[in-house]
């Protein structure tokens, strides 16, 4: 196991938890990124400005990371562009069909012990691991 970063990862996780907690306790909202994005792409009157503000914050946070912690964008592994495009389609379509992603289901839903989120999280970790296994071990990790 190389590049093991338990402390940084735990601390980052705590920040994610604090952010999601603030959204819940202050605004009563679930910090599910795919849902927030979907609500900006297909805006509903009266329910999109806070979403745009959150996404603007994400982007601003990204700019800050670029200045303070450029290693955060040391991607290390970028798949070929056609594969990335297919992956993006799957992530966009799948998160809408399944009503959430790593944040909404994986963090917020699992913490709430929501049965739907527990099932969804187990499912996407399983298919994610299966995909990585097939790519690495059968395609020889050549991609």
């Amino acid at each position: 196991m190389h590049n093991f970063t338990p402390f940084a990862s735990f601390f980052g996780g705590v920040l994610i938890g604090l952010s999601a907690s603030a959204m819940l306790l202050l605004d009563g909202k679930i910090a599910g990124i795919s849902g927030i994005l979907a609500g900006v792409l297909k805006p509903v009157k009266g329910d999109w400005v806070w979403r745009a503000c959150f996404l603007a914050g994400l982007f601003a946070g990204g700019l800050l990371l670029g200045k303070l912690l450029p290693g955060a964008f040391d991607f290390g592994l970028i798949r070929p562009l056609p594969l990335l495009a297919i992956a993006g389609l799957a992530v966009g379509f799948g998160t809408r069909l399944g009503s959430g992603c790593t944040s909404g289901h994986g963090v917020c839903g699992v913490s709430r012990l929501s049965p739907r989120s527990l099932v969804a999280t187990a499912t996407f970790i399983f298919t994610g691991a299966l995909t990585v296994y097939l790519l690495n071990h059968l395609a020889g990790g050549s991609l």
Binding site: A20, K42, G57, L58, G94
Partner: protein
Amino acid sequence: MKSLVTSFISGVVFALGLGISGMTRPVKVIGFLDFFGAWDASLAFVIVGAIAVYFVAYRFSRTMPSPLLAPDFSLPKRSDIDAKLVLGAAVFGVGWGLSGFCPGPALTSLASGAPAVAIFVAAMALGMYIYSWVSEIRAATRTFAAAPSESMQDA
């Protein structure tokens, strides 16, 4: 107005958390998903850290009549496990494993200016639009088909 500022700040903190934790690096994400190879357990600590905080916040929120800056909580109420949920999560997982990006880290990484991330995000947005187009078409055909026969309820 206040809640828009808190949404923005929450977004900033969320992005910093993603960056510090390693979630914005596909090599870490794919390493975490590589259970049968050189498994990198780091991201399990992200989940533990985030859930530890949110679990407490959620319990606390149950004691509040309303959120501090909004009239009420808007939380998902469904608890049924349906095929859409499982299939959607499965498709999402495939995309996550292929790329090492999920929505939050991808949007945060847009700020890096990397064209590969922009392509991923554009495809992700398109995937979301395709979902809503498909749902609209299905809803339209269902209304049409349901007219002559009541038995054409949800497949």
